[in-house]
């Protein structure tokens, strides 16, 4: 058995926290989206590591579905960001505070 479960837990917790930090601190919506991807990736790594430790493929299936959802989410989110940029000509999460387009 390579590196124990603690290593997987630590790396995934660290990457998840850093992603959460990026989502909270950064103001550019693109970088916020990247931080969300970071968090999803951390969870994927946890699922894959545990599916290896527990001899079960369920974790990998979960990770696969999460990747699908993340891809769909990124496409829709970037389309929305592009739409906001077309109407407002600026990108700052602090200034996007009305839903009316």
């Amino acid at each position: 058995m390579i590196m124990g479960a603690e290593f997987v837990l630590f790396v995934s917790a660290a990457v998840f926290s850093i992603g959460a930090l990026g989502f909270v601190v950064r103001k550019n919506p693109l970088v916020m989206f990247m931080s969300v991807e970071l968090m999803l990736n951390a969870v994927n790594f946890l699922l894959v590591g545990y599916s290896n430790f527990l001899n079960s493929l369920d974790g990998q299936i979960f990770a696969l579905i999460i990747m699908t959802v993340a891809a769909a989410e990124v496409v829709v989110g970037l389309a929305i960001i592009l739409t906001i940029f077309r109407t407002r000509h600026e990108l700052d999460a602090d200034h996007i505070d009305v839903l009316k387009g």
Partner: protein, 195 residues
């Protein structure tokens, strides 16, 4: 190889040395993943963030390889580092992303303390967590016998067929959504007076 021979002369059998070697590789890749994710958050220019994110994803794909998930490693590289990041880079190039100002405000401090608390909670949950593991039957030997992709395919199409179909529906909905977003014509919004 000389280094390995030297290690072998310390009365270590080959198995231990390779185990040690593998462990150190996994450790280094994991630390690189953490550093790359720090780079995503700390870089002021979005294009550098995107490049660091690619590095992070490749590191995680390598870790997937180390944990016997070859198929997922390939999917990670193709879908994330390929498709999603290309999309991000296109959008960055299209919008001409500017550098972000870097002042340390009260909100930043609040976010930092919140995330520090979150990290401590995660570590605490990892130490005191007492869940009963559910052992499966698919050992790494079985996966090596049939291949990772085939094992996942069998599992996906026998036990998890409903999530699979729902994922295809989700992709269809996303495609329809972005087409309707892109076809719509916009009037530029009035310049706001209040800042």
């Amino acid at each position: 190889m000389e280094f390995l021979d030297q290690l072998l002369s310390f009365n270590l059998d080959r198995e231990t040395v390779f185990g040690l070697f593998e462990q150190s590789i996994v450790f280094i890749i994991g630390m690189t993943a953490i550093l790359a994710s720090l780079g995503v958050v700390l870089c002021a220019t979005p294009i550098y963030s995107a490049l660091y994110l690619i590095g992070n994803m490749v590191c995680l794909a390598m870790l997937f390889l180390m944990f016997n998930a070859e198929f997922l490693a390939a999917v990670q590289v193709v879908v994330y580092a390929g498709a999603v990041m290309i999309l991000f880079l296109f959008i960055i190039a299209l919008l001409g992303a500017k550098k972000e100002g870097r002042e340390f405000s009260f909100q930043n401090f609040m976010g930092l303390s919140f995330v520090g608390l979150l990290f401590c909670e995660l570590l605490m949950a990892m130490m005191v967590g007492k869940t009963r593991p559910v052992e499966g039957k698919v050992t790494p030997e079985v996966i090596q016998q049939v291949g990772s992709a085939k094992a996942i395919g069998i599992e996906l199409f026998s036990n998890h067929i409903v999530p699979f179909e729902l994922a295809s529906l989700l992709l269809l909905v996303a495609a329809v959504g972005i087409i309707s977003l892109a076809k719509f014509t916009y009037k530029p919004m009035r310049k706001r007076t209040r800042t």
